[in-house]
């Protein structure tokens, strides 16, 4: 679902932009939280597959979504990164760890794979 992925990227991009550009941390937290509320939840969109979803689609999308927020490659400033990590822990990661330990382990595995995945030699940038 290309449109679904564009929605995912738009929300994540907006959140990262806020954290990169907003100098006031409290304001960044508030705005990012509002945007975060409209993030796509895979269960909500499951019905769009009309009873023919790819196997384990919900789990795979959830893992990638959480993994994406846990690895903010778009933020390079150390102080902003720290503030972002605290925010994402408050708003999502601590709950995932506590209430969804299996999902959390899948996210950790996803991040390991991401870290170890070789860079494509033909990559343009």
């Amino acid at each position: 679902m290309r449109w679904f992925m564009s929605y995912v990227h738009a929300v994540k991009g907006a959140i990262m932009q806020i954290w990169n550009e907003e100098p006031d941390e409290e304001r960044a937290r508030a705005i990012a939280s509002v945007i975060f509320d409209i993030r796509p939840v895979p269960e909500d969109w499951f019905g769009c597959w009309n009873d023919n979803p790819p196997p384990n689609w919900i789990a795979a999308v959830r893992r990638a979504l959480i993994g994406g927020f846990a690895l903010p490659v778009e933020i390079s400033d150390g102080a902003k990164l720290g503030a972002y990590q605290k925010w994402i822990d408050d708003i999502m990661m601590s709950e995932v760890r506590f209430l969804s330990p299996e999902t959390y382990q899948q996210v950790v595995e996803y991040l390991r794979n991401f870290a170890l995945m070789p860079w494509d030699e033909d990559e343009e940038d």
Binding site: I38, E43, A70, D89, P101, T103, V108, R112, A115, P118
Partner: protein, 646 residues
């Protein structure tokens, strides 16, 4: 045209390492630590990991160095100095006392519990394990895993961590942490919950094949109880009594296996605990032994005094119990792994945990209701909806019975049941104490609330018999048949909650519900809601799909007609409970999702944020319903008023 890139002198290995470092630096410390925990990422990227342990006076020692010192000490070798992380030799002493290691330097003496397990000698590890397991209750399965780990010939630091993680799941470990936090000051919701999932099994038993509470009590729980009694009969009663949440859970036969003197000595400790449910169970045991041994009559008197002589104390203890039960019940319902467990097991785990918390925290302060009010604020909605969501298997217990008056009535009902079992042989002192307490117990609850099912008795039962027409209840049925009014229907409330509603009278119930469609203006809102609640309860208990349909439709229509924002949660609750009336779960959930979608289209727009919140809670507690709620959630989102620009 493509410009030629200027490539730096960098090897593929270095590039890969840089990528790992780049990714790790963007992770939060806890995530980073978890990603590195299996060693694979560090090994592939050539990253050297250290595990610094910070000690008082600014001393930092690498974990491997410290563990090596503990191992030497556990194996009887002297340790006089340790090299810290900056290479400085520190004069220290390491001693092993029982299962702990003590690190002494300067004026400091620091305890490292369970560090004796680091011994290289398997027999020494087993000796330390014997001490540790006396103070840590584990299921038979967890104990086997622990034994296997510490018996490994090549016991490593990873094995040590795995073994200590198993111990973290013991109820004693949770109790110790909660006690420590409570002594420091304010408690948060997570302080009421254990960090380890294994805690819930260790406090009860691992469910293997049982399909209902009675099977579980007779199989897995019975086996666990026998094992615990065999291990340490003196301590067993303390732990076993945490699971005395309903009369069926008191293992009279198993406890008879404990030698009488040991048993009475163990039981005499229990009145010191603030744990009304355990004491009710122990009273049942006293009734069992009363005729044979006068000491149990005395103990029974002590328990009755403990429970009934001070109404305020009982209410305060029940406040702590209810608080912990609400938080635990909500947690177990929404936890990714635990929500898959059967409802009876989750309820038993929550009740046992609540007993443990009550023992640790004791009664609340004088402004006690605030503790329960706080719990309802932080977990009440999830708790309430989860109980109704589970009504397809446990329809008889209502979530509002977690209030203090109902809990007190339940305790009283249990004590009364034990007394009635003795019939004429009941000690007169017991009878008097129960008679004296009756007025204040029934003052805050319906007169027969003590006969309502306990929180662990919500499972399905066989249909009830229609009472003869010349009995008071028989006459009530006849009156309802002749005049199916809301008032005549509500007169059944206590009878229904205690015993059920005969299916032959369903037409009368249907007429009452249908009458609410036409008489919205003429019926007091509280009466109408109470009638719908009662009808939903009957529909779920009797698996009456037609009645459930009528109740759900009328509930939504009333919300449309009144546009009352306070009616959203009661309406949703009724709709969720009605889904329990349909035996086919797939069909039930599809219908529920459709009704919630309808609801999202008709609720007042200012209630839509709450509707969205309720839908998200339902997603979190019902994995099968979750993907069906997309349309309801979308409808709610569309209707939510835009944020004011002011």
């Amino acid at each position: 045209m493509k410009m030629k890139k200027t490539e730096p002198e960098i090897t593929p290995q270095e590039l890969a390492r840089l990528k790992v470092v780049f990714a790790l630096r963007r992770m939060a410390p806890e995530v980073q630590s978890d990603v590195l925990s299996d060693g694979a990422v560090a090994a592939r990227a050539g990253i050297d990991l250290s595990h610094p342990i910070k000690l008082p006076e600014g001393i930092t020692i690498d974990r491997r160095v410290l563990f090596s010192a503990f191992q030497k000490a556990a194996d009887g070798k002297p340790v006089s100095e340790i090299i810290d992380i900056s290479g400085v030799r520190r004069e220290t002493q390491v001693e092993i006392e029982e299962e702990s290691a003590f690190l002494t330097y300067g004026t400091h003496r620091i305890r490292f519990p369970q560090a004796a397990l680091l011994s290289a000698d398997v027999e020494k590890r087993r000796a330390a394990a014997d001490i540790i397991l006396k103070n840590n209750t584990l299921t038979m399965q967890a104990r086997s895993e622990f034994d296997a780990l510490i018996s490994k010939p090549d016991f490593s630091h990873s094995d040590f961590f795995a073994a200590t993680t198993i111990l973290l799941g013991s109820p004693e470990s949770f109790a110790s942490t909660l006690r420590e936090v409570a002594n420091k000051g304010t408690l948060s919701k997570t302080d009421f919950l254990p960090s380890e999932v294994a805690h819930w099994e260790n406090i009860t038993a691992r469910r293997l094949t049982s399909e209902n509470l009675l099977e579980f009590v007779g199989q897995e729980l019975a086996a666990e109880r026998v094992a615990r009694i065999a291990l340490d009969p003196k301590a067993a009663v303390d732990v076993l009594s945490l699971t005395f949440g309903a009369p069926e859970l008191v293992p009279l036969e198993a406890l008879r296996q404990i030698e009488r003197e040991t048993l009475i000595a163990s039981l005499r400790r229990l009145p010191d605990y603030a744990d009304p449910l355990a004491l009710s169970g122990i009273f049942d045991l006293c009734a069992d032994y009363a005729a044979a041994d006068g000491r149990f009559v005395e103990l029974g008197d002590v328990i009755l005094d403990r429970l009934l002589s001070d109404a305020q104390r009982l209410r305060s203890e029940l406040t702590t119990f209810a608080t912990a039960f609400v938080i635990a019940g909500a947690h177990l319902a929404e936890h990714e792994t635990l929500r898959k467990k059967p409802v009876f097991w989750r309820r038993l785990a929550a009740a046992s945990h609540a007993s443990l918390v009550t023992r640790i925290l004791g009664p609340g302060s004088n402004d006690e209701p605030s503790l329960l009010t706080w719990a309802m604020r932080v977990a009440g909605k999830t708790f309430y909806l989860s109980v109704l969501n589970d009504a397809h298997v446990e329809p008889r217990w209502r979530p509002d019975w977690i209030s203090l008056n109902f809990l007190a009535a339940d305790i009283y009902g249990r004590l009364l049941g034990s007394l009635q079992r003795l019939s004429g042989a009941a000690p007169p002192s017991w009878r008097k104490k129960l008679d004296d307490a009756q007025p204040w117990v029934i003052a805050g609850a319906p007169p027969i609330a003590h006969a309502f099912p306990a929180m662990l008795q919500g499972g399905l039962v066989t249909p009830i018999e229609m009472p003869p027409a010349d009995t008071p209840v028989g006459e009530m049925y006849e009156k309802l048949r002749r005049e199916p009014t809301v008032e005549n229907f509500l007169a059944f409330m206590q009878v229904v909650y205690a015993f059920g509603f005969h299916p032959d009278a369903r037409e009368s119930a249907l007429k009452v519900v249908q009458s609410l469609r036409t008489e919205i203006a003429g019926t007091l809102p509280e009466y109408a809601q109470a009638a719908l609640d009662l009808a939903a309860f009957i529909a779920a208990r009797n698996r009456d799909g037609e009645l459930a349909d009528a109740v759900a439709i009328v509930s939504i229509e009333r919300l449309i007609a009144t546009q009352d924002v306070d009616r959203l949660l009661p309406t949703t609750s009724v709709i969720v409970e009605c889904a329990a009336a349909v035996a086919d779960r797939k069909e039930a959930l599809a219908t529920l999702a459709r009704r919630l979608e309808n609801l999202a289209f008709v609720v007042p727009s200012k209630s839509l944020p709450e509707a969205l919140d309720i839908f998200r809670i339902l997603q979190s507690i019902n994995e099968d319903l979750s993907p069906l709620l997309g349309r309801a959630i979308a409808a709610a989102r569309i209707g939510i008023p835009a944020i004011s620009a002011s």
